[in-house]
Subunit: 408 residues, 2 copies
């Protein structure tokens, strides 16, 4: 009647941590030729100036994991796992099998879950949190100056386990199984050294039968109107990519902010359509701002109605979050919806938006905006933030480089 | 710093329960003409002899919800919600908007989440649990004779909230947002009367780049080898559909068993490929039984190797679960994988299979097999069952019928 599975030995205990590290080294040693093989045409390139998964149109599925560094892992242990992770990421994103023991008397090199699913346009994006930099790993001096958790905001209900983390992996793919499997493979490769802390699944879906073909969130409104375009290089360079920094691995990188935002769906569903639209500042059906008629009409924040009232009310979400309300700052948003069952304390759906944003300066671009949203956004009373994390996203790798040597 | 959202009134409190019931009645009154409109060609028919979602090839996404009947809901309250649910299900599965108030001074008729996503081949399948039959609702005499929860099994670690329920809805769709949204709409329509108890999301994915095109589970093996075929009417009639029963609404229906089965992924990943294959009784790559060469080769349970050993070992999963090991019984399986984050007590992935099976006799076909699996299946030590539910699935509806009049 016990709730625990039969076998109690972890893979690390079975193999010993040095064996795991050695496997990593063996894997990496055989990597370059195999990874140079042709990837599927639809695969998203893993190597490049920037990491994939940032200026990449969102795939339908997200698995976002955070990790802790084990308190007895050495610098070389962590370095070896990060080298293995690089190899795993390069292979999975190309739809190729993992390297590893071929003898059937050994555990298989991969979980087998994603066999036959191809690349699924998988992207694997690594971030490092403030906790990654420790005197034990000898990398305290490499901590980026702007890398810090956000301050506490009024109304935050942050789960400490879901928040923070020494490392994060954002895995996005065209199907949920490939996104999950990527995290599973990386967690398995890190056992005992880089240990899974939290995992969040997310989903989105672009319309198939209507225009605009832009996904809706669980509020029922278009998710990312007025976002920075994935191919808009000047705007990405201005707001997203870090241009110069110490350490050098952040040049061409960015900062990732993740917030798990629960939506009070039951209460939101009892709000009139007029009121929902006033709260957002847009029409629900078309996505047009209340000052306009079409989705991509710019919001006219000064436009007034017949009674002299502002068409986009003072507390409307798009007024407070938009570039004009946000001291000229912009962020690159990459939100997914989540559905995590029923909150047993209230009987309500535990669902909402797992919000990810990329920017050059997490506090100035995101944190200050969030402060304004929390005090001035009419939508905020329907939201509860249940996690928060800030991560520095290193620049992309060139073939032959790996995250271990880049970071340690 | 509170963890609760601002607005504290539920929709039922705002509207009053009689208003909710009236909305349901209004909705139903305007239904027939609109639902008779043409559905999308790819839509799966809601009306028919059997409910859709049983003998239907699994779509990629599952939202499986259970519900309680509120202790102060009357028979007419429940009947009205079930009537509304029928209308909601008929419309959503056709990719059509919900009926409801058109004035923008009222809450919108639907959540808006699935706008533009079409039918997404959505199926909505209703089941009723033992708890649905109460003296208060006056339907105790209608409880099907075989409708009872399964007995406790050795090793079960059942979460009481995830288990049981007066009603269940299995929503399956081609995308996660449509599957979630179906549950959200039904939960919203039931507020205060039929209340959400638990919700489980699931996913699967058929291979795109290899044959056989059969999904794999998180063990890495093909999910449903040797399953009953969706179009194999004689076998469905023999093992799945209830032929005669009192009450009559179960004739042409079936029984649904749901078990949330967590897989000890970390331990499974440390098992050699040989041992994994011996535990399952099949080759991982091809899915062939260890006695054969191809996926669909029948398992030869007597075949021996050079040393006289059984090729499919005594404790192999397919030997114990197969028709020969199972007293000639078969079930229709419809499994999905789940990924619910990290178990904070162990730091391991809380992931596995949300197993659904359909059969005419839940105890004789499923319960006895499960008993054999728990005592004799080599796989069982890697599994923990964390929920259990049994539901009677009524026959399909004809146009103009509704679940309220069928069941109450």
């Amino acid at each position: 009647m016990s709730g625990t599975p039969g076998p109690r030995l972890s893979r690390r205990q079975l193999l010993g941590s040095s064996a795991v590290a050695s496997l990593g080294a063996v894997t990496a040693a055989v990597t370059p030729p195999a990874v140079a093989d042709a990837a599927e045409p639809s695969a998203i390139a893993f190597y490049g100036r920037h990491q994939a998964g940032v200026a990449t149109a969102p795939q339908d599925h997200l698995s976002f994991a955070t990790f802790d560094v084990s308190s007895d892992a050495s610098r070389s242990d962590v370095r070896a796992v990060l080298q293995t992770w690089t190899d795993v990421a390069a292979r999975l994103t190309r739809g190729q099998p993992l390297a590893g023991p071929t003898k059937t008397t050994y555990p298989p090199a991969d979980s087998g879950e994603a066999t036959g699913l191809g690349s699924a346009r998988l992207t694997i994006t690594l971030g490092v949190g403030p906790e990654f930099f420790t005197s034990r790993l000898g990398n305290l001096a490499d901590r980026p100056a702007l890398l810090a958790q956000l301050p506490a905001y009024d109304g935050d209900a942050l789960d400490p386990i879901r928040s923070g983390g020494a490392l994060c992996i954002q895995a996005c793919a065209d199907n949920a199984q490939s996104a999950f499997s990527a995290i599973h493979e990386l967690a398995q490769a890190g056992l005992g050294i880089i240990e899974l802390r939290a995992l969040q699944a997310g989903f989105t879906k672009n319309p198939t039968t209507t225009d605009p073909r832009m996904a809706r969130d669980l509020l029922g409104f278009h998710r990312t109107t007025n976002n920075i375009g994935w191919t808009d290089v000047p705007t990405l360079d201005r707001y997203v990519w870090v241009a110069s920094s110490s350490p050098g691995w952040l040049r061409g990188g960015t900062y990732l902010v993740a917030r798990r935002i629960r939506i009070a769906l039951e209460q939101w569903g009892a709000v009139s359509l007029d009121e929902q639209q006033s709260i957002i500042g847009r029409y629900r059906a078309s996505g047009a701002p209340l000052s306009g008629h079409r989705l991509h009409d710019p919001a006219d924040l000064k436009a007034t109605g017949p009674q002299g009232n502002l068409l986009i009310p003072p507390g409307a979400h798009i007024r407070v979050a938009g570039i004009d309300g946000n001291a000229g700052q912009r962020i690159l948003r990459r939100g997914y919806s989540f559905s995590d069952g029923v909150d047993s304390s209230t009987g309500e759906l535990d669902a909402g938006t797992f919000f990810i944003a990329f920017q050059r300066d997490p506090q100035r671009q995101f944190g200050e905006m969030l402060g304004r949203l929390i005090s001035g956004d009419a939508l905020h009373r329907y939201l509860v933030h249940t996690s928060s994390g800030v991560f520095a996203v290193p620049r992309g790798l060139a073939q032959g480089e790996h995250w271990g040597s880049l970071l340690l």
